[in-house]
Structure formats: C-alpha cells, structure tokens
C-alpha cells in the first residue's frame, strides 16, 4: 500500500479504530473488573473464574463449530467456484444461486434448517421417519445442524471471493496450460488450486473469525450445554444477576482473542501461499497484479531467465 492510498483511507481506518477499540477496551475492562456497574473497581480475573468449567466447554464447542464449518465451507466453496468458472451452461445458474444464498440472513437460514432437519422436521416427515428414529442433528450431541448451516452459507461466500480473485485471467491461464499439454487433472492441481489458494485462505479466515463471534445459528440449533462462547456471553449478559457481566465480558474477550490469534496466524501464512504460487503459475494472475510479492517474484524470475 502506498503512503498516498493510506492517507486516503485515514477516515475509514479512524472510524474502525474508534468503534472497535473503544468497544474492545470497554469489554476487556469489564472482564478485568475495572468497569463495574456499581461500587469500586476490583481488578482481577474474577470474570474468568466465574465462568469456571463452562469456559473449557465453550472453547471446545466454539472451535469444533468454527474449524469444521470453515473447512467444509472452504472445500465446498472451492468446488462451487470451479463450477462457476467452468463457463458451462450451469455456471451462471450456480453463480446466481451462490449470490442468492449470500443474501439469506443466517437467522433465516438457521430457522429453515431447524424446520428441515429437526426430529419432527420436514425431512423426517417426507421420509416417513418417526421423530424418535431420526438422527439427532438439531440440538444433538454434536453440533451437526449448526455446522451444516454455517458451512452452507459461508461456502457461497468463499466461492464468490475465489471467483472474483481469479477473475478473467483464469480462462487465459487454463488455455495456456491446455496448449502446453496439461490434462484436466493437471489444470486443476497445477493452475486452479494454486492460484485460488490465497483467496481461499483469506476468505476462510474471514469465515472462521465470523463464526467464532456468531450467535444466532448456534443459539437456535445447538444444545443447552456446552454453549459456544457467544451464546455463553449473551446468556450471562442477559442474566438478572448484574454481577454476571464480568463473566459475560470474559467470554466475549476469550472469543475475540481466539479470533485474533487465528487472524495473525493466517495473515502470516497468506504471503507464503502467494510466493509459493507465483513462480509456478503459468500466467500472471490478473487480479493480483498489484501484489508486491507476486510482482517481485515474477520480475526476479524474468530477470534471472535473461542471459
């Protein structure tokens, strides 16, 4: 990013910092007991202590939901992106469907999944299965319905991000590969997969961070215990016992930390995905022409090939 473009972004960056940082500061201060609704501040980790055994369960549940939903969404999204990019007749329909799925609110999606997959739901009725004989997808021992809903909606997001990132240059690269004698498998493994990895990684990170903080799907489709962190935080926040607020803030802070750790780890990995891809890519990826890493790699590659 040039200094000039950074200067242009200053108002937006300031607005984001103002909202996100004051908010985060208030939540962290509440969790640390510095921000009581009444009485003197009592700094300490009482918020986390009050969470007690719920914290480990909530972390485990959050990670289970976020990791499995993100993985499924990434794989399915990549597949859908491939269909959209294939320029077959069905690709436009699939593209329109993906855009439509993106427009469905998670709340509506979760309610629909509940009507469809619950033990007395439509799938059980159409299949003629007794409610007791239907698998426990909704509110069962594993968050299956929650993961399915999140993966379904987020796969559309991953697909559209990948399609946008590969852009028009994708067709040219495939043609070049064909001309050079690459078969369908090679075109997939040597062109599509490596060129789409950075976009898939970035989109998956957004999906993961979103799911770590998302409330409504797990609240509607999950079981009573253990709850993922946002559901735990919201329940404690709504408690008539106002002293539960530090605990609620502690749960929210834990979730934010989890998202932060994941973001730092993935953001550190994405450039290496790009550099790993660039020398091998057949054509220069058009939409990432501005990426310094890939540019430098391409330039240095072309320089070194010169006598």
């Amino acid at each position: 990013m040039t200094p000039r473009s950074l200067g242009g972004a200053t108002p937006a960056v300031l607005a984001v910092l103002l909202v996100a940082c004051t908010g985060m500061a208030a939540v962290v201060a509440t969790a640390l007991g510095l921000f009581p609704l009444y009485g003197d501040p009592t700094p300490g980790l009482d918020g986390w202590r009050a969470l007690g055994p719920d914290l480990a369960g909530a972390l485990r549940e959050t990670l289970t939901i976020a990791v499995s939903s993100t993985l499924i969404a990434a794989i399915a999204g990549l597949f859908v992106a491939q269909v959209i990019l294939s320029e077959a007749r069905s690709s436009r329909i699939v593209g329109a469907l993906a855009a439509a799925v993106l427009a469905v609110p998670h709340l509506v999606g979760a309610a629909s999944v509940s009507l469809l997959l619950a033990n007395g739901g439509m799938a059980a009725r159409v299949g003629g299965v007794d409610p007791g004989g239907w698998p426990r997808l909704v509110a069962g021992p594993w968050p299956i319905a929650t993961v399915l809903e999140l993966a379904w909606k987020e796969s559309a997001f991953v697909a559209l991000v990948v399609v946008a990132a590969l852009g028009p240059g994708h067709r040219r690269r495939l043609e070049t590969a064909s001309v050079l004698g690459a078969g369908p498998w090679q075109r997939w493994s040597r062109v599509l997969l490596p060129t789409s990895l950075p976009a898939t990684g970035a989109a998956s990170l957004i999906v993961f961070v979103y799911i770590v903080g998302s409330y409504e799907v797990a609240a509607l489709l999950g079981r009573t215990t253990p709850e993922p962190l946002p559901v735990l935080a919201f329940r404690l926040f709504g408690s008539i016992e106002l002293t539960a607020r530090p605990a609620a803030a502690a749960a929210a802070t834990t979730g934010a930390l989890l998202a932060l750790v994941a973001a730092v780890a993935v953001l550190a990995t994405i450039p290496s995905l790009r550099t790993a891809v660039a020398p091998r890519a057949v054509g220069r990826p058009g939409s990432r022409a501005g990426s310094r890493d890939s540019l430098q790699k391409t330039q240095s590659a072309s320089r070194s090939s010169r006598p």
Partner: protein, 447 residues
C-alpha cells in the same frame, strides 16, 4: 412507602446505587445492552458510557419526583384529550396484538386518546428505554405505558422509574378486590399504586389424553411418571421464563408445599431447600427427552416437541394460548389441562406508567379503560385473547357480571376458578437467579 431493602440480594445492592446515581446507572444499562450484539455493539457501549458521563444531569433528587399528582379524575380526563399513548408490550402474541389494536385502541379513541401499540421482543427492552430516558432527565418520553410484571417491575421500582400512587385512584379500581394478594404484590414486590392490574395468569400443564392413560395428579407424581416413561417428558432450560417457573413449582413440591418456602429470599433457606430439589431433578434427568443431555430452549420449543409427538406434556404460563393451538390444529384435539392437587403458581400482570412519560394523563385514562368490566370481559373471551380478569365478579353489578357469564367456554382450558384452585404465590424475584444458576450447575452440569 418504600419496600425495605433486601440486604442479601445482589440485585438490590446494585439497584441500590440507583438511588444516588440513577442517571449513570440507567444509561450504563442501556448502553451495555448492546454488548450482546457483538464487538460493534460493545463499541457503542463505550460511546454510550462516554456520552452518559457527559450528559448525566445531577438529579440526586430524582427519586422524589415519581409520585403522581393528586388531581380530580375529571381533570385527568380533560388533560388526556388529544394525547397519544404509546403502549410498549411484548409483540409476539398475535391475539394480544389484535385485542389492543381492534378492541382497546378504538375504545380509547372514543375517550379522545390515541393508543399506539409498540411491539418489543422482550419487556426488558421497554424497561431499558425507560431507564435511559430517566437517566437523561426526559419528561416527554417515548414510553407511556408498559405491560409488565415480575423482575422488570422490581428493577424499575428500585430505579424509581415508575409513576406511583395513581393506580389505586382509578375509578374502575372499585371492581378489584382490595385483599387480592396477586394484585397487592407483584412477585413479592409491593405494588403501591405504581402499576394497575391487567390480567391474571396461572402456570398450567397440558397433556395429550390419547398418549397419557394415567395422568399424574401432583408434581412429584409427574416426575415419577417421567421416570416410568423414558424420553416422554422435559421442560425448558432456565433461565427461560417457563423453565424457571417449572423449577420454582418443583421447589414447592419437593419442599412439601408452597407454605414451606418463604417468599423472601435468604441464603440459608436456599441452602436448606435447594439440595433436595437438585437431587429430584438430577434423578429424573436420565429419563427425560434426550436423556436430559439437552433441554428445549424455551416454551415455544417445548410446544413444538409436544405438537410433533416427541413428548407427552407441555407447560405454559399463558393457558389462553392452548385454546388457539388446539383450534388451529397445532396441538391434538385430545389436549387436556393437567390439574395438580397442590395447585400451581399464579401471577398477575400489570400496566405501568414510566415517570418519564409525557402523556401520563392519557396513560391513566387507558389503564382505567383497560380495567373496565366491558374491556376485561372482551379480553377474557377465549376467541379474542382469553386472559383471566383481575376483577372480582362479586363487586360488579348484574349487567356487567352477565358479560362474563355469557363468555363462551374454552373447550380446553377450564375456568380460572378451577385452574387457580390451591394456587401458590410467586416467589420474590430474588429467588429466580440463584435457582436458575443452581439448576445450570447442579442439574445440567451433571449430565
């Protein structure tokens, strides 16, 4: 007269601060409610708090300004002319909405008052608006009337957010029995004319007669039935409102009756009474729906399980809905109300006027109208809303009494006299949080 402070209660300790810092308290409550909506919301929390610190007026004398002025009723009616009253109420009950829009509002219009219904997802939302307005020193607030009871009323009372001393002076108050305990105190909090009764409710169990051959007659009998019929019974998970009532009802049953549980909370009584309750509920848990590893989220989720035939019992604090659910085919036509020998807990709900209301005269006219025999009878009609009246029929004249006698009988729900037989009082709202939290730790945590 102020209620004595409950020294053992954390809640009162917090709201105690409202007496000298209600302004700050109110907006903190309002702002931080946004925290639940995520990081963005908590950003607003910070802004709201910052704003409240600047804007909060020094209103240490605010507590004194909440008693309604004593005016002749004719004066109040005259002041009310042309006022628009915003009634904030839970918006999730279609028949409640229809009653207010189609019956109450037109009647108010004839008295010169425009009644506007403001639906909220939870009465807490209305309360938080009231507390925020109170904090800002508003005298022309958006909230003129709230359908309220229980801890929301108690919270507003502690923060001095309600207009008081007006409800007993309404002309139609003469039809309400003076010694009616449900109307005199609201979940253990003295009403003191700070809210006007609207209707009564009775916690009610229902079952499907074709699936239950041997309906139990007591709550402990119901728990025994659940153990004999694995997977056929469950209850919503506290802190859900209905699940929370079930746990209180179970506390009465396990403790040997409502008389054994003092309405006022104290820790040592709780420590004596709670362990047998947790034992009873833990023992029955493996035989509940899904082996007690999970519970329905709320009464709607339980109703769905009942409608789908996954469980054989459901429960509600609003038995009026049973009539409708059976009529539209959601519940089987063989749904019956389960009477318990020991009776169930009952409560009344009320209309309260916030101290910050700008149209309090109009609100008083509407509250009086809502208490009239004509409106109470229309509301009690099972085809309209089916809410039980707060009036004492013996105090009505013959013509008005006839209005109630002519109401159609619900095919499902027995009359209030039957339903409320041996009714127990609600525990004070201080009991609710320890019971809910104890249930999560001791019953849910054991599975």
């Amino acid at each position: 007269m102020r209620r004595p402070r409950r020294s053992s209660s954390k809640l009162s300790a917090q709201f105690g601060s409202a007496h000298f810092g209600s302004a700050h308290f109110g907006s903190a409550q309002f702002g931080s409610s946004l925290l639940g909506s995520g990081l963005l919301g908590s950003g607003l929390l910070g802004l709201a708090l910052a704003a409240s610190a600047c804007a909060a007026p020094g209103n240490s004398d605010a507590a004194s300004g909440t008693t309604a002025s004593e005016q002749p009723w004719e004066q109040i009616v005259a002041d009310a002319q042309g006022q628009t009253v915003d009634l904030w109420m839970y918006g999730g009950d279609d028949r409640a909405n229809a009653y207010v829009d189609d019956v109450l509002a037109p009647a108010a219009k004839e008295l010169g008052v425009t009644l506007r219904r403001v639906p909220v997802a939870d009465t807490k939302d209305a309360l938080q608006r009231v507390l925020a307005e109170r904090a800002a020193g508003t005298t022309d607030g958006e909230v003129d009337l709230v359908w309220v009871n229980g801890d929301n009323f108690a919270t507003g009372r502690e923060a001095d957010a309600w207009l008081c001393g007006w409800a007993d002076t309404l002309p139609n108050r003469e039809y309400v029995a003076e010694d009616d305990p449900l109307v005199a105190s609201d979940f253990g909090v003295a009403v003191d004319g700070c809210e006007s009764p609207w209707h009564k409710a009775q916690f009610t169990f229902a079952y499907d007669a074709t699936r239950v051959d041997d309906p139990p007659t007591s709550l402990t009998g119901l728990l025994d039935w659940a153990r004999e019929h694995p997977g056929r019974f469950t209850y919503p998970a506290p802190p859900d409102f209905t699940g929370s009532v079930f746990v209180r009802q179970a506390l009465y049953a396990v403790s040997g009756g409502a008389a054994e549980v003092p309405s006022r909370f104290d820790q040592s009584t709780f420590d004596d009474l709670a362990p047998p309750l947790w034992d009873a509920l833990t023992q029955v848990a493996p035989d509940l729906w899904r082996e007690g590893t999970t519970y329905p989220r709320d009464s709607v989720a339980l109703d769905r399980l009942f409608a789908d035939g996954e469980v054989d019992f459901t429960m509600t604090y609003g038995p009026a809905t049973l009539t409708e659910l059976v009529a539209d085919g959601t519940f089987p036509s063989t749904t019956k109300v389960l009477p318990l020998d020991e009776g169930t807990v009952g409560n009344a709900s009320f209309l309260a006027i916030p101290a910050s209301s700008g149209d309090s005269a109009g609100a008083r006219v509407v509250a009086n109208l809502a208490l009239s025999p004509q409106q109470q009878a229309a509301k009690a009609d099972p085809d309209t809303w089916g809410q039980f009246t707060v009036l004492d029929l013996d105090l009505l004249d013959a013509a008005d009494r006839d209005l109630f006698a002519q109401l159609p009988q619900s095919p499902v729900v027995p009359p209030y006299e039957v339903l409320s037989r041996n009714a127990g009082p609600e525990l004070s709202s201080d009991w609710v949080a320890p019971l809910d939290e104890g249930w999560r730790r001791q019953v849910l945590g054991q599975r």
